[in-house]
């Protein structure tokens, strides 16, 4: 019981990495980004590429960290390029048209990944030092779960600090509240958008790179993960980072318990939970949050 709750929390933090990026981008650009799953998948492939090109046989933890960072930053760079080239034009469409536009981009990214890496599943081994399990308060937990939880907490604190305690965060929140007003007072809102998009996609890349030891890596990881991330941001309340954190942890734990006790519901539990929450609270857990609360 405790063990699967622990594993669920780790999964939840991994989901949070994707969902928080989605939330950031939704908050500032008012766009729900299907292609986020594509950036997640690219992050995983970038890390895979770095790891296999070096060919270490137990994979050293230090090198894995390098691979994860390269994956994350590389995806951020791709994110900046797509924002400049494509998203600029998509922002002006209606919300549904822009959603479909990002769906087009998702297909595009998935197709490119299929051309480059093929559709055979790839895998990355657990890096040394975190490939075992340890006893914590009497339950066996995988050390990699502890890594995921640690990274998730760091990202959560980092986002809070960035948005609440820095000048950049203040600008991002201002644009999220009222982009038009920000433009009137002379703020470079386009630059803020690009920066927020870069951070969001880096988080997706980070999540993807960290997920490599856990998933069989194929291009359709992109379409599989984005649905769960969407469920998280909708249930959390669109635009709320704390809401998406709560929802991600709840989803992670519930699904992990489902895997242990009702295997037939693993994966489906997401959608049942979403169904129930939206019946009770159509607006999500955290309603009408001030920007990113």
């Amino acid at each position: 019981m405790l063990g699967s709750i622990f594993a669920g929390i780790a999964d939840g933090f991994l989901l949070f990495l994707i969902a928080s990026g989605l939330t950031l981008i939704f908050g500032v650009m008012r766009i729900l980004n299907f292609s986020h799953g594509g950036y997640f998948m690219l992050g995983a492939y970038f890390a895979y590429q770095v790891v296999t090109s070096a060919g270490f046989s137990p994979l050293p933890l230090g090198f894995f960290i390098v691979a994860v960072l390269i994956g994350s930053v590389g995806v951020g760079a791709v994110g900046i390029a797509t924002e400049r080239l494509l998203f600029r034009r998509i922002y002006e469409l209606s919300d549904i048209a822009s959603l479909l536009g990002t769906f087009g981009l998702l297909l595009l990214i998935e197709g490119i990944a299929e051309v480059i890496w093929g559709i055979n599943p790839m895998s990355v081994p657990f890096p040394t030092l975190v490939d075992k399990s340890v006893k914590v308060v009497g339950v066996r937990v995988a050390t990699y779960s502890i890594v995921l939880i640690g990274v998730g907490i760091l990202v959560g604190i980092g986002l809070w600090y960035l948005l609440r305690r820095t000048a950049f965060g203040e600008r991002a929140r201002a644009v999220a509240e009222d982009r038009y007003m920000c433009e009137l007072v002379g703020m470079n809102t386009a630059a803020v958008s690009t920066a927020v998009f870069a951070i969001g996609t880096m988080l997706a890349g980070l999540g993807g790179a960290l997920a490599t030891p856990l998933v069989a890596l194929t291009p359709d990881v992109a379409t599989a993960f984005i649905i769960e991330a969407f469920a998280v941001v909708i249930v959390g309340g669109l635009g709320s980072i704390s809401g998406s954190l709560i929802a991600a942890l709840v989803f992670g734990v519930v699904d992990s318990l489902a895997i242990t006790y009702v295997p037939s519901l693993s994966g489906v539990s997401f959608f049942i939970l979403m169904f129930v929450v939206l019946l009770v609270r159509p607006q999500g857990l955290v309603k009408n949050a001030r920007a990113f609360a």
Partner: protein, 326 residues
Amino acid sequence: MLARLRSRRDSASLAGLLGPIALIVVAVLVVPSLASGATMFLYELVLIQILMATSTNFLFGRSHMPSLGQAAFFGTGAYTVALVYDVVPIPAALLLAIAVSAVVAFVIAAVSVRTDGLVFANVTLALGQGMYLLAVKTNWVGSENGIPGISAGSLGANGVWYLVGGCVIAALVVCWVIYHSPFGLTLYAIREDPIRLEFLGVNVAIYRMVSFTIAGAGAGLAGGLFAYASGIVTPNTMYWTQSGYPILMILVGGMGFFWGPAIGAIGVTLLLNELSGNPGWNLIILGLVLIGVLLFAPRGLLGLWVDARAWLRRGSARRPLPAHSP
């Protein structure tokens, strides 16, 4: 605006129904003497996708209910036929497919119409994907492998073709009548201004639920026909990206026109078939088509055609009409 109204009036005249239907009838009669085997299956897919896209357009062009879960109803219809094909005759199986998907759509509508816009899109997406996962995990529908060996009994290859053709034509006529009926026009009014219609005493939620149910029933019939045409049903028919294809077809053809989705369905299905030998590239080209249509031709091919005609009539002095954003 004017051109939009005019184009609607044009398509609402009986000629707007009979012309395209006559074309499809001729095509259905001619194809068996020209094609066979795999080509025949491709044309069956085209017909099925025409029905799928047209019924989905109840949600996009008629109501403002951007569902991303229509594949779930297509799959429901397909699985229904797969489960009953050897115990009941074909018409009963297809009616059952329509009924079961309509019921499922109604239940999903009851929850999802409480939401709007992006949240609605996500709720339908998630519920549809939930049904996909259920299909993958349920043993009595064959889990990942689905249900193979569905046969249409004594109907031969040509018989299945006429079955698909006949059903699609009948369903298109029904769709057209509903689309242009007072009910359909009320949906259109709700799409444009739901609050005003609410004040006029229209029960907006009921209209939206019925619209969703009709679209689900249409998708269910398309799925049932697909089961007979392909002989196998797998969970992949319900995967969420399959819900994206009818939307792509609607956008390519033009969602503001009754026949737009049909034109898009023909184009996209044939394109997908051309690209099927190039894994990866098929997705790349679909993605580019979708982005290109949204950015450069938001009213689709028929919209371009209407603009071009208006432009030719007026001369080049004036700009084309502003795009009708979906």
